[in-house]
Symmetry: C2
Subunit: 161 residues, 2 copies
């Protein structure tokens, strides 16, 4: 009953981009900050570019950034896309794999349960994930300081450097 | 965002037992009816016996049956047990695997979403899964007629045979 790693990495990428709104960041930078695989992130970023959540820029100063304000990116919409078909139903069965599927009530109950799950996610946007930006930036900075220009100054303000 | 095969087989087993309330059924009978592996069902049945949902009887006429009326078996309780720790949270991260976990709001949002999912399952019992017993029994009968004494008569009544 967990979301996939693909959903995990997608939400982490979006969170990172929301915390660095003023510039293009690289995949390596995100991978380093979370100590996760840049190869895996490639696919995540491609999907986010396809759905229009991020814009990418090629070249030496290229990278990616959010295409829309975090307030406009609903978590439910993100998860529906990353979990694709699986998000439509939590049921296991198809008529091919489950002999009682045609008369089964369970799939309807599971669909209702999944709708309730998604309704909670639909009530939140990416902006809700960065309500404590300073704490998040400090934690991200522990993992991969190199190549990450956004750091905290002594007074807590963000500084490009 | 799907439940595990273990949950799947657990719900199928409970449904089968609820449809055959008057006798002990064997694991092979259930496996045959659903065309699934008896080996996998062994573990499911052991877990159901441990949690007190079924009683088992050894010997040539042995097998298993429900320990309680279907109305007393809440689907939420079943899924919480079969999904174990995973049912408590849909979040991926621990402080070891996710660097921002200490300041992350996502785990709280996902927990709320999961609670909403479980609340729907808690509003249903095993009895809700067998509201159409005749249709279910016909479909089960297609897969494994041998060794399954419960069949429909012409007038739709159940007949032990």
């Amino acid at each position: 009953m967990r979301l996939t790693t693909f959903s995990d990495f997608t939400l982490r990428t979006l969170t990172y981009l929301a915390l660095h709104p003023d510039r293009f960041v690289t995949i390596n930078e995100i991978a380093s900050a979370y100590s996760i695989s840049a190869n895996h992130l490639m696919k995540v970023v491609q999907a986010l570019a396809t759905t229009g959540d991020v814009v990418t820029l090629r070249g030496p100063h290229g990278g990616l950034r959010l295409a829309r304000p975090p307030e406009d990116i609903r978590l439910g919409d993100v998860i529906r896309r990353t979990e694709s078909d699986a998000a439509q139903t939590a049921c296991f069965g198809t008529p091919e794999t489950c002999g009682i599927q045609p008369a089964c009530v369970l799939s309807g109950i599971l669909t209702n349960a999944l709708n309730a799950f998604m309704a909670v996610l639909d009530s939140h946007t990416l902006a809700d994930l960065i309500v404590e930006p300073e704490s998040l930036l400090v934690l991200l900075d522990k993992n991969g300081p190199s190549g990450r220009p956004c750091k905290l100054t002594a007074d807590g303000a963000h500084q490009q450097g």
